[in-house]
């Protein structure tokens, strides 16, 4: 009799413990699950941009000459500079993670700040590129652009849409990295638990990957 009662009491305590653990929001300590979730999210980004690349393929096929002409007005130097900024930011991102894996908090923070710096540099260059275009009447719906042949209108339609969506992701990525910076400073990311930084890094590398394809497809058409 007493055994059964003790059993029930034990069950109730275990129940309370489990319920307190589960029914309230709780942290998962499964880093692989976390990484899996992040990769799955990256696939959605891949397919999102994939749709745009699909359109690009169709339109470049249809308007090959106009694409060549329109692409002349893009600045290869600025495009290449931006490519180098993003590639280097990927390096500093990977190094930042490598540093915290070794417990080198200050180095990790420095590298993360550099990554954010390169992101900002990219946005500055993009800002100048776009405003220069707008200044010359090359903007969606603008008169100068509307006077050009359809193929060139489509080129710029794709250019602004794709580099625009990409830039949005650069901004979001930079914001995420700032959050990671705060986590690093507050020791929420450590040598023993750095999955957040890894996942943020994965996102950042994706942003880099997209640009690796955007660059030749828009700036290097001849």
């Amino acid at each position: 009799m007493e055994n059964i009662e003790n059993n029930i009491i034990e069950k109730k305590e275990l129940h309370t413990e489990i319920v307190a653990h589960l029914a309230e929001p709780h942290q998962h300590k499964d880093a692989i699950a976390s990484k899996m979730g992040m990769w799955l999210f990256l696939f959605t980004e891949l397919l999102l941009f994939g749709g745009l690349f699909l359109l690009y393929m169709a339109y470049r096929l249809q308007y090959s000459q106009d694409f060549v002409i329109a692409a002349q007005d893009l600045n290869i130097v600025l495009g290449t500079t931006n490519t180098i900024f993003l590639l280097t930011s990927s390096l500093t991102m990977a190094l930042s993670i490598a540093a915290i894996q070794r417990g080198k908090k200050v180095l990790s923070i420095t590298l993360l700040v550099s990554t954010i710096g390169f992101a900002l540099a990219f946005m500055v260059v993009k800002y100048f590129e776009w405003t220069a275009k707008f200044h010359h009447g090359i903007a969606p719906g603008a008169q100068e652009l509307m006077n050009k042949p359809n193929g060139e209108i489509i080129f710029y339609g794709m250019y602004f849409s794709m580099t625009g969506l990409h830039a949005l992701h650069v901004i979001v990525g930079a914001i995420i990295l700032v959050f990671m910076l705060v986590f690093l400073l507050r020791n929420k990311i450590t040598k023993y638990d750095y999955i957040k930084l890894e996942n943020a890094g994965l996102y950042w590398h994706l942003v880099d990957l997209i640009w690796i394809f955007l660059f030749p497809l828009f700036y290097l058409i001849h």
């Binding site: 489990i18 589960l22 745009l52």
Partner: protein, 546 residues
């Protein structure tokens, strides 16, 4: 026995009280079971709004001219009916309600991999739905493009397109996050001993569906974004006046929307694979074939989308390629139907309400599937595309398929979810009403379409009127059946007899826990030593008897 003792000591998930207020403990819950119910509540409301719109559409179709509304209003009706039924009911449908509720239990887990993300998915679902509804009342009026919002009309129309599209985008995110959650859960949280090939087939179905949710949805996401960008900034990508190609819109749209129909049907087929073994009292015929066929359908389903575009102007080469691939995708579905029927053969069959709805499904879905072949075949498609034939086809597969199984799942699992039993007599009487009404409503549409009645037309030639009248009367009978069915189920929640842990004699894990289940599902994570339908080797207990 253990279940009853457990039920006495542990609180059910319905009763669990946290330190929050009652409302907050529901809308801010991270318990997968409560989230499943939250979806059920939202979905029920949206379903009945969709049914009402359909009902009104059929009323309008009673006469060739105006019956109750003008043409513009009719256009908004069929648009909203489609948007609500597809994005707010069928696509989230079975995964959001029954997947959320039962996936962790079926694999022996306490919850999904990302419980907070799960809650966020539900919030996105509610926001998306509300956005779409609010748009109805804003400047420009309700959207009238059809749920497919083809360009260039969706760029030109003055009705409010952007808000419903934002709603749809948000809903897409909800779907993506649910898929992401389920994939991770299935990979990481299976109980010890539960190998992939010991998982219930419903879990396999959810897994295949989740991959489609994650990989296909973003494509409609970019489509939506581009239409919004086009309307706001006039970039020209979809505008023929500026060199844009409307066919590219259709490609992007259907690259998602065809796999989307597999998001709708795969979970339903998973439910069928659960119900049939239970009521045939034997193991499923060809477990691996059914599991792999789910993956095959998901896979091949990506390769058929342009069969929605056969008469749009795509190349002849692609029409032949897509027609061939479309025929291919019917094969794994056939494998499933064969295996289900084989399971029933010489089984010890108990024809209870869930099995009755499954039987209805097999009949209706088969008609829908076979007429899909008529549409997939180029020569016949030219004749019936964009007619009522198509409307009939997709209602047979989506409504006669997924929705009937949604009802079957309700009849199968509601006793587990709420611990209350419904009147089986009423459930069994509602079914023939639904069946007769359904066939009157939609079979006539096959004939109408074959005779040339176009879809989305407010007015028609007088020679079609007789069939339209029969169809509309069918809708009344159908709605009556639906109301009786729902009333029965809802009544049971308040006044139903208490249900036992295992009213049907199933042997998957959800029948090993109390009805309703405790918050943490299991007192202790079980260790699995047998397959999901191993009736030959398990001492299953039904209502306390063997």
């Amino acid at each position: 026995m253990a279940n009853e003792a457990l039920a006495e000591t542990l609180e059910s998930y319905l009763e669990y009280k946290s330190n929050k207020s009652k409302l907050f403990s529901w809308i801010f819950t991270t318990d997968h079971k409560r989230i499943g119910l939250l979806y059920l509540v939202g979905m029920t409301v949206f379903f009945w709004v969709g049914v009402t719109l359909g009902f009104l559409m059929k009323l309008e179709m009673l006469t060739p001219g105006k019956t109750i509304v003008d043409a513009q209003t009719y256009n908004t009706f069929f648009t909203l009916h489609g948007v609500i039924m597809i994005f707010l009911f069928i696509i989230p449908g079975i995964p959001a309600v029954f997947g959320n509720f039962f996936l962790p239990i079926m694999i022996g887990a306490y919850d999904v991999a990302f419980p907070r993300l799960n809650l966020f998915s539900w919030w996105l679902y509610m926001f998306g739905g509300i956005f779409a509804v609010v748009a109805l009342f804003l400047q420009g009026g309700p959207i009238d493009t059809g749920w497919t919002f083809y360009v260039p009309y969706s760029i030109r129309t003055t009705t409010n397109v952007i808000l419903p599209l934002i709603g749809a985008f948000v809903l897409g995110f909800s779907s993506i996050l649910t898929g992401l959650n389920f994939i991770t859960t299935i990979h990481r949280l299976r109980a010890p001993g539960m190998t992939f090939f010991r998982m219930p087939l419903f879990v396999w179905a959810l897994y295949a569906t989740a991959w489609i949710q994650v990989v296909a949805t973003p494509v409609v996401g970019i489509t939506i974004l581009l239409v919004i960008v086009e309307r706001v900034f006039h970039v020209g990508i979809f505008d023929p006046a500026m060199g844009g190609d409307p066919l590219l819109f259709q490609h992007l749209f259907w690259i998602y929307s065809h796999p989307a129909v597999y998001i709708m049907i795969l979970p339903a087929m998973g439910v069928v694979s659960e119900i049939i073994p239970t009521f045939a009292r034997r193991t499923i015929f060809g477990y691996k074939a059914i599991a792999f066929s789910s993956l095959a359908i998901a896979f091949i389903g990506y390769f058929v989308w342009a069969h929605h575009m056969f008469s749009s102007g795509i190349s002849d080469t692609s029409r032949m390629v897509f027609s061939l691939l479309t025929f291919l995708v019917a094969v794994p579905s056939g494998v499933k139907v064969f295996n289900w029927v084989a399971t029933l053969y010489k089984g010890s069959i108990e024809l209870r309400a869930p099995l009755l709805y499954v039987m209805m499904f097999i009949f209706l879905f088969s008609i829908g599937g076979l007429t899909g072949l008529v549409l997939g075949s180029l020569a016949t498609d030219v004749h019936v595309t964009d007619t009522y034939f198509v409307v009939a086809h997709f209602h047979y597969v989506m409504f006669g398929g997924t929705v009937i199984i949604f009802f079957a799942a309700l009849h199968y699992w509601l006793p587990k979810m709420f611990g209350k039993m419904y009147s089986e007599k009423v459930a069994i009487w509602a079914a023939p009403l639904i069946f007769v009404g359904f066939n009157m409503l939609y079979f006539t549409m096959f004939i109408l379409g074959y005779k040339g009645m176009p879809r989305r037309y407010w007015s028609y030639l007088p020679e079609y009127q007789t069939l339209h009248i029969i169809s509309t009367v069918g809708s009344w009978i159908l709605v009556l059946g639906l109301m009786i069915m729902f009333a029965n189920l809802i009544y049971s929640l308040f006044k139903g007899k208490p249900a036992t842990a295992n009213p049907w004699g199933g042997i998957t894990l959800e029948w090993q826990v109390p009805s309703p289940p405790p918050v943490e599902n299991f007192e202790k994570i079980p260790t699995i030593t047998h397959g999901a339908y191993d009736y030959e080797h398990i001492n299953w207990e039904q209502d306390g008897k063997h």
